[in-house]
């Protein structure tokens, strides 16, 4: 199993009241950006990733969001390029570059090739469509999001594999001279892991391309459904999916004592947490989702990653309650904080309590890639690093043993899609739903 470290690199200094007032992280005015603090933070987060390497994580994962203190990685390839040089062992995993938002796949092919070369082959490229708010920030037309995603991806693969120069005329992108001089260090190109939250289309696309699908803190029951869907699609394509096809990323925070962990772990709901990533009107711009996806959203209430939910879709109609009673908002967030822990959506505690919880996640979801997502909110560098150390020293070794024991092969050990299967036999289960009922999860 590959064990990764991930942080959103939150800008931790916006007063919570401002986030409440704005009802979201996205669109908080950048007059709250303090250049000195920003400078300190960018440097600290790079150091933090080096510390992850030192502690024995296999990978560090970066992502990208725009116009938000939720995540400072506005241009993640910049950070990836620096890490390529200042680390020496960890895989640098991008989850991922928002292709339809960046709208320049040739430039992307060049940037990633440079990063892979500088790191001597440690890059894992990943692609995303970009959250709804990204479409606003970059004026990227959501109606063409998936088309642009597919075309940019296919183009980048070509740019890395087909000797140039050649001319390209696609629907959304055109290049008269494709001949990127620098090609990736890894042959034929870096592995790709694809993060996702809810879209069946993306899961199907991953199965077709034999890319590992990394669930971003998706609810446990629906994740099982999603991975069964992947495995069914894989079988249609002639291969047996296994742990190497799946990854799971989950908010995790540890402290020496249970009380301290519970206190600081509240950072995950600071300012509303993930559900306050963007306001409803910025979450799902018209055209971003397929008809089928809108139908699914309209049916299935409940929160999810980056606050995309049917409740949110309806929120506009039903009003937003008392927006100025922040104590009430905080109380509600505390309830949500407890609920999320019960649902295994937040893993918080001392090493003693965290280990069995993660083992359960591994048992049920059987991922070949497991990534911890560091706490958000105003938690000090020292406390963040303590959490990392406790995880690496007191949890990780046992997780590695357990992963080996239950056969969680990762995509480095076994190439995803390399185990053939006939269409008329029953496939091997990819998840273990047994423990769900006892945990009150479906």
């Amino acid at each position: 199993m590959q064990i990764g470290y991930f942080t959103e690199r939150p800008y931790r200094w916006v007063p919570e009241e401002e986030l409440f007032r704005n009802q979201a992280y996205f669109a908080v005015s950048n007059r709250f950006f303090d250049r000195q603090k920003g400078s300190d933070d960018y440097n600290y987060y790079l150091d933090e990733n080096c510390y992850a390497e030192e502690l024995g994580f296999d990978a560090v994962a970066l992502n990208e969001h725009h116009g938000t203190p939720f995540c400072m990685g506005g241009v993640m390839n910049v950070e990836a390029a620096i890490l390529a040089r200042i680390t020496s062992k960890v895989r640098i995993v991008l989850v991922g570059n928002p292709l339809p938002v960046i709208k320049h796949p040739l430039r992307m092919a060049e940037e990633l090739a440079e990063i892979d070369l500088i790191s001597r082959g440690r890059l894992v490229a990943g692609w995303v469509r970009g959250a709804g708010s990204e479409q606003f920030f970059n004026n990227a037309n959501p109606a063409y999001n998936r088309e642009m995603f597919n075309e940019a991806h296919d183009f980048i693969i070509q740019a890395w594999t087909r000797p140039g120069p050649w001319r390209y005329e696609g629907k959304h992108f055109r290049y008269r001279h494709v001949n990127p001089w620098a090609l990736p260090y890894q042959k034929p190109y870096p592995p790709m892991w694809i993060p996702g939250v809810l879209s069946l289309e993306t899961v199907k696309w991953c199965a077709e391309h034999r890319y590992p699908y990394v669930g971003l803190g998706t609810a446990v029951g629906p994740t099982c459904d999603l991975w069964d869907f992947y495995a069914d699609e894989a079988q249609k394509l002639g291969y047996q999916a296994g742990p190497e096809n799946f990854g799971y990323l989950i908010p995790t925070f540890l402290a020496e004592t249970e009380e301290r962990a519970q206190e600081l772990g509240r950072g995950f709901v600071y300012g509303g947490g993930q559900n306050a990533f963007s306001r409803p009107e910025h979450t799902l711009p018209p055209g971003y989702n397929s008809k089928e996806a809108i139908r699914r959203l309209a049916k299935a209430p409940g929160g999810s990653w980056l606050g995309v939910s049917a409740d949110k879709l309806r929120q506009g109609k039903e009003g937003r309650g008392d927006e100025n009673n922040y104590d009430e908002v905080r109380q509600k967030l505390l309830v949500a904080y407890q609920k999320a822990q019960q649902a295994y959506q937040l893993i918080i505690g001392s090493p003693r309590t965290v280990l069995p919880k993660i083992k359960t996640l591994l048992e049920v979801l059987r991922p070949g890639i497991f990534v911890t997502f560091a706490v958000q909110g105003p938690v000090s560098n020292k406390d963040r690093m303590t959490s990392m150390r406790l995880f690496a020293q007191e949890v990780m070794p046992a997780l590695r043993d357990y992963a080996k024991e239950i056969g969680l092969r990762d995509p480095i050990e076994r190439t995803p899609g390399s185990v053939p299967i006939a269409s008329d036999v029953s496939r091997v289960p990819v998840v273990e739903r047994g423990p769900l009922a006892a945990l009150g999860l479906r």
Binding site: N141, A143, E281, G287, N289, A298, L313
Partner: protein, 265 residues
């Protein structure tokens, strides 16, 4: 939908749905980004004076929006192809909002063919210091507050209310999002898609009809349109009080009366 007719256009690339009612001079109504849920009372009023044809745009009930790739010219040619197929030669073109932008584009592309041009709070231009509201970033309640002069009116509430039946409500939600998504193919990039460079070609007498309290495309845009319509035989601005962006709905009588009067001259 009641009274909808169907037409196959360009070898089935577009399955066009349209309303056709009334008699008299041909008037083509091009709806806005909210779609056209029925042959609405304002169209009924116009149908007392004109042969009204009101097509649903691709993505709003008409299929084939994927054939119109972000290109305003493709959309404009599609609209003229449709009128060719319907045998409408010299229409009075009435367009609201997104449909207003389309009507203006049509009149610029084929100026001799438009008898009169009526732009009701049209999209398509950008006025520095007075940006149009970004209705792609609005939830239904916000949209109603922006689109109606009186968001508390029964009309406004009916506009945002979902049907009781869950399935119907789901369909309505999907239609709304789909329709906005379809309009987004052309309007998402925001502001001006090049219309300012083409308006000089319009020859038809033009009525710019605005709700005084329009919070989506402020009435100040009327002057900008007038300035750029330098070769129109006539440009008249008419501002209707007690009306917002949905002026045809909110002040149906005054608005349709203005259209009928302008066409009678």
């Amino acid at each position: 939908m009641n009274g909808l007719q169907t037409l196959n256009l360009r070898n089935g690339r577009f399955n066009v749905k349209y309303y056709r009612e009334g008699s008299g001079a041909p008037l083509v109504f091009l709806h806005g980004a909210g779609g056209l849920p029925a042959f609405t009372p304002d169209l009924e009023a116009l149908a007392k004076h004109f042969a009204v044809t009101a097509p649903l745009h691709p993505g709003f009930g008409t299929s084939g929006e994927e054939n119109l790739h972000e290109d305003v010219l493709a959309l404009t040619l599609y609209a003229w192809d449709l009128l060719d197929a319907l045998g409408i030669e010299q229409p009075i073109l009435v367009g609201h909002s997104f449909g207003g932008m389309l009507a203006a584009e049509m009149a610029a592309l084929d100026p001799r063919r438009v008898k009169k041009l009526i732009l009701v709070a049209p999209a398509g231009l950008y006025l520095e210091g007075c940006p149009t509201a970004d209705f792609f970033a609005m939830m239904p309640d916000q949209l109603v507050r922006a689109a109606f002069f009186d968001p508390g009116s029964q009309l406004a509430r009916a506009f945002v209310e979902l049907p009781e039946d869950k399935r119907m409500a789901e369909e309505v939600m999907i239609q709304r999002v789909r329709g906005l998504g379809a309009a987004g193919r052309f309007l998402w990039p925001l502001g001006d898609r090049g219309l300012n460079e083409r308006l000089y070609r319009v020859k038809a007498p033009t009525l710019l009809l605005w709700g005084e309290g329009d919070r989506i495309i402020p009435a100040a845009y009327a002057e900008k349109f007038r300035e750029l319509l330098e070769n129109s035989a006539e440009v008249k601005i008419e501002t209707i009080p007690q009306a917002g962006h949905l002026v045809l709905m909110e002040q149906m009588e005054a608005a349709t009366h203005a259209i009928v009067q302008f066409c009678a001259r």
